[in-house]
């Protein structure tokens, strides 16, 4: 006869293997970040939007048979009418009727992880281990906020609370009735008394301002090719997601520029291709202007990022330094991102190697950083470096 055991322990035996698996997924997501942003309009998207991420590397690869026409498979269809040449399923879909698994199943395992942008951001940034992030980089603007804080019996006329005052009077009236000092039928009225008056009490509390505006600036002149824009876009995506993760309210201003700057929509920002030269200064100049009009630094945390291939007309350098300095003074962080894909001939650009990164050296400090991106693989390390984290 058999033995029956009912054990009491509820040991979760796969817990540690699950956590190793989760780490793998997170790593794969970070490595796949450039694929994620490839064809999505992401900046300014609702965080609830779901995107599919092809998670690579946690597939378990084995030798398996392909899905080619020499690979004949067998299925059953009792009671169905079938004939040769009959079509039974579309090849771009999943295979029809997958059999039981016995360690020998072939074909595609799909590991598209469907994830919302919010979850993605959490995945990415929780694992960043940014040291002292809040203290160092995200000192919020302190503003003052008026807040109601109970009632007082003295105050200014406009803050008189009629409802509370009436309540107080009714209380006094009822008390008077009980003690017999007031008889409703005899005494005609029961007047308000000085001590009934209730005033709203308002305190001024210091408040952290949790609004942020990001100025994304980009050189859209002829020298910014598709590949460079793609890298810029990926990097901007990360910045946007990260900042949005940190602030309650976030707005984005896109500034595209050649020798002139213009505020544009996200779509235009990434698709604009123009001929003509470059004045780097044009972008921070417009950003300062917009900031003064719409995003006063006393109530907005300002972030500015400028993507460019580093070329500038030499006569503009001084002006660029000047406006960048002004914008930097008002910003929590300002990043200049120089995108120079390796392998092209663009190293020897007509500006004779005099890149903006060099021009900007005097400005570099905790707030202002220059970043060189040579390929999409640089994006994540550069991002981590920018925010002082460790990978």
């Amino acid at each position: 006869m058999s033995i029956f055991k009912e054990h009491k322990t509820t040991a979760d035996r796969s817990a540690s293997d699950r956590s190793r698996h989760k780490k793998k997924i997170e790593k794969a997501i970070r490595e796949g970040i450039h694929d994620i942003v490839a064809d999505e309009s992401i900046i300014g998207q609702d965080g609830k939007k779901k995107i599919k991420i092809p998670v690579k590397g946690i597939k378990e690869y084995r030798f398996v048979y392909g899905d080619n026409d020499t690979n004949k498979q067998v299925g059953s269809a009792p009671g169905k009418n079938i004939r040769k040449g009959q079509q039974i399923g579309r090849a771009d879909k999943k295979k029809p009727g997958k059999g039981d698994k016995a360690g020998n199943e072939a074909g595609e395992e799909y590991y598209d992880v469907e994830i919302s942008l919010e979850e993605l951001a959490a995945y990415l940034f929780d694992s960043l281990n940014l040291p002292d992030l809040e203290k160092k980089r995200f000192t919020n603007i302190i503003g003052e906020k008026m807040k109601r804080h109970g009632y007082r019996n003295q105050g200014i006329r406009p803050r008189l609370d009629k409802k509370e005052t009436l309540k107080k009077k009714l209380k006094r009236k009822n008390a008077a009735k009980r003690t017999g000092t007031y008889n409703e039928d005899e005494d005609e009225r029961f007047p308000f008394h000085e001590s009934d008056l209730r005033y709203k009490f308002i305190t001024e509390t210091p408040k952290e301002n949790s609004n942020a505006v990001i100025f994304f600036m980009m050189d859209v002149s002829g020298s910014m090719g598709v590949q460079k824009k793609f890298i810029a876009r990926s990097f901007f995506f990360l910045l946007y997601q990260f900042l949005r993760y940190k602030y309650d309210k976030i707005e984005v201003v896109f500034i595209a520029h050649t020798t002139e700057a213009k505020e544009v929509s996200e779509e235009e920002f990434f698709s604009r291709g123009q001929s003509g030269g470059t004045f780097i200064s044009a972008a921070p100049e417009l950003a300062v202007e917009i900031m003064n009009k719409r995003y006063h630094p006393s109530s907005w945390n300002i972030y500015a990022f400028h993507g460019s291939d580093g070329d500038n007309w030499t006569e503009d350098n001084e002006k660029a330094l000047d406006y960048t300095q002004r914008l930097k003074d008002k910003s929590q962080m300002y990043g200049f991102i120089e995108i120079k894909p390796t392998g092209g001939q663009e190293w020897m650009s007509w500006s004779g190697g005099n890149t903006m990164m060099k021009v900007y050296i005097p400005l570099v400090d905790n707030k202002f950083k220059t970043i060189l991106l040579q390929s999409k693989d640089d994006i994540w390390p550069a991002f981590v470096k920018l925010f002082g984290g460790m990978q």
Binding site: S14, R20, N71, V74, G85, I88
Partner: protein
């Protein structure tokens, strides 16, 4: 909660065992572990083994099953039993009584198959549980060893898992290179043409990649050799189960059906039993359900040849030979088996052969090809070049490899071998090299 007590299970077990013994079934004693669905998924992730070494892939397996279960995409399997003596099987608390009885009857069938089928001859069921427990301990000790660490062990396991079934597929023992060489040397001395350079490694096609690595790899440290051996041993343990999936499930289903009918269940148990049984052995439209195919075949064989014959069949056959010998045209028509493939022009799957007078042999051959280990491409070591480069070959039987996968696997093998690894195969009738 449950509509049964352990005492009731014991009573029903006694009845099941008595009936099964009367029919002549001969099984290992069974230990039933009563667990909840969450623990069940946990055990399933480790193939039902009470202890197994850690690897993230089992965590992945858990997540997938758990997710599917929560989304209602799949029910949990009714039964989970491992090949050991005593057999270990699991019963979910959530199951109603009739289902527990059905599972117990099913498990008796499996256990009988494990104990008597020749494919399992060398699986050493007496020690299987302790072997897996020891392997787990050793792997854990490597992971905790500061000079090795979890990352190195995990990387090696990742790479090994991608070729884990590239081991000896027969139950016969592998002959070492030295023994082959000795034998061939004798024949060479006797003046025979042995058709190969005596200094070549390997001298014969080597299908056991993992054994070859352990034998010929000079760069492995002791812990690496042990890990390779652990993975290989596990594959050798599981290959008989892969080779007998249809027979084993068919046999267990045939017996749970027969035993349950013999038990004269009260009608409040009988009707749900019939419903569950039909669910288990239903055909998968467009696919092969091993429970269905195996059950139908054993039912038919029992009618045609009798009990003694099917007991003999469960002893000496495995799925490939079982189908080859006993699947006939009548049954193929009844099961309506057909063969299909991807048609590139139409971008669709198209039926290219059905079970009629003309086509049934083709359909049958295709079925046999995909059955058991036949579903796993068979690779071998072609040659170890004197410079260290390893050349892999592929027994091409008309089916091409999936190249995206093959590329990654070859890369993984190179990481194990720590030298250049090449693969020669055939793609669309042309030689192909990775």
């Amino acid at each position: 909660m449950s509509d049964w007590t352990v005492k009731e299970l014991e009573e029903w077990d006694e009845r099941v065992c008595n009936v099964a013994a009367d029919f002549g079934l001969d099984w290992f004693p069974i230990n039933y572990d009563i667990c909840d669905y969450y623990e069940m998924i946990g055990h399933m992730s480790y193939h039902g083994l009470p202890s197994h070494y850690d690897h993230w892939s089992y965590g992945k397996s858990f997540e997938r099953t758990h997710q599917m279960y929560n989304h209602g995409q799949s029910g949990l399997p009714y039964e989970l039993i491992i090949n050991s003596n005593p057999s270990i099987a699991y019963l979910m608390k959530e199951n109603p009584l009739y289902l527990q009885v059905l599972i117990m009857a099913h498990c008796v069938g499996h256990s009988d198959f494990f104990k008597n089928n020749l494919t399992f001859e060398n699986t050493r069921p007496d020690s299987s549980v302790s072997r897996f427990r020891n392997a787990k301990k050793r792997i854990k000790s490597y992971m905790e060893d500061p000079s090795i660490g979890i990352d190195k062990v995990e990387d090696l396991l990742d790479n090994l898992h991608s070729i884990k079934y590239q081991v000896n597929r027969n139950s016969t023992a592998r002959i070492s290179h030295n023994d082959v060489r000795e034998e061939l040397s004798e024949r060479l001395k006797a003046g025979e043409d042995i058709g190969v350079d005596i200094n070549q490694v390997p001298l014969r096609r080597e299908y056991d990649l993992l054994a070859f690595f352990m034998e010929q790899g000079k760069h492995f440290s002791d812990w690496e050799l042990d890990v390779i051996n652990i993975v290989r041993e596990e594959s050798l343990y599981f290959i008989p189960q892969i080779k007998t999936k249809i027979m084993n499930e068919g046999w267990a289903s045939y017996w749970h059906y027969t035993i349950m009918n013999e038990l004269k269940l009260p009608s409040e148990m009988h009707l749900p039993f019939i419903k569950s049984h039909n669910q288990v052995i239903r055909p998968h439209l467009g696919g092969i359900n091993p429970y269905h195919l195996g059950f139908e075949m054993f039912q038919k064989l029992d009618k045609e040849f009798g009990r003694d014959e099917i007991f003999m069949i469960r002893e000496v056959f495995h799925d490939e030979s079982f189908l080859r010998n006993y699947l006939d045209l009548d049954q193929m028509i009844e099961l309506n088996l057909f063969s299909y493939s991807k048609n590139r022009k139409k971008k669709a799957y198209v039926i290219d052969e059905i079970s009629d007078e003309d086509g049934w042999k083709t359909v049958k051959n295709n079925l046999i090809k995909q059955t058991g280990v036949g579903g796993i491409p068979k690779m071998f070591i072609e040659v170890l070049e004197p410079g260290g480069t390893l050349v892999l070959g592929h027994d091409h039987d008309g089916r091409d490899l999936e190249l995206n996968y093959a590329n990654v696997v070859v890369n993984n093998v190179a990481k194990i071998w720590e030298d250049v690894v090449k693969l020669e195969t055939i793609i669309e009738e042309e030689p192909w090299e990775i």
